[in-house]
Symmetry: none
Subunit: 155 residues, 2 copies
């Protein structure tokens, strides 16, 4: 596995009648080092699909196990919500995945999808929704310059 891997850039691709979309080739290059699978799930906080490597979710599973008790309600709730929603999507030789109805509906995607890199994860948006969301984020950043402060708080 490569030491450095980041999902980046914003790419627009078509979704055909069967729900097939080409995963951007840059993204594929990252995944291909391990397998030909990507994990997708409905974002908890926004009307979009999120994607990442299975490895990333595996880390989360371990984190949850370490942070909560086997019999605790919190562990139950979290694992149900996260893993109950996530699913593996394998892409074929041409690099397409077949998104499920559930995911497409949640993101209000019909015939076009926008892939937005987020580092270890990426998101898939309806083009109009993404346009609005990006404007909103930019406006907020201009007001508050939040990024650096937030990092300090967390450390």
């Amino acid at each position: 596995m490569r030491k450095v891997f980041l999902f980046m850039d914003t790419i627009i691709n078509k979704v055909d009648a069967k729900g097939r979309v080409s995963l951007p080739s840059d993204y594929r290059a990252i995944v291909k080092e391990l397998s030909s699978e990507i994990v997708c799930y409905r974002s908890l906080s926004a009307p979009c699909i999120e994607g990442c490597l299975e490895e990333t979710l595996d880390k989360l599973a371990t984190d949850i196990e370490n942070a909560t008790d086997f019999f605790s309600e919190t562990q139950d709730n979290l694992t149900n919500l996260v893993f109950g929603d996530a699913r593996r999507f394998t892409f074929d030789s041409t690099g397409r995945i077949n998104l499920s109805e559930k995911l497409l509906q949640h993101a209000q995607i019909t015939d076009t999808a926008v892939f937005v890199g987020k580092g270890r994860k990426f998101q898939i948006w309806n083009p109009q929704n993404w346009q609005k969301e990006e404007a909103r984020i930019r406006a907020e950043v201009l007001k508050n310059r939040p990024s650096l402060n937030i990092k300090r708080e967390a450390e």
Copy 2:
């Protein structure tokens, strides 16, 4: 054996008159790497069936040993409840297991079963019950956003 294996997604399958259910193919793929057996038991906290690899229960046994005293009532109770209830279920060439009456009754399952991935484990629910449970969990998580806090605590 694969480095990463997670039970994911939510899948609805039919239960026939004999009590047979297809284990979702993704789940089978995970199990098949080791054997053709899965362990199931009645959930301690919810009206559903829980399933996992025997390996996972083995880890739990170790955890219980480490966390409680050999002679303690807690260890007694836990081990009785978990291991007294658990049973191996082998699936046939078409991938079906034959759930026992005891398990089906506990989960109120008659003709349809919902498999819910939970990472290292999965659950089997009655469809209506799962629908309610999922709504409850989502509402609770949206109120508290527990995931991030828990992660911080663990670090």
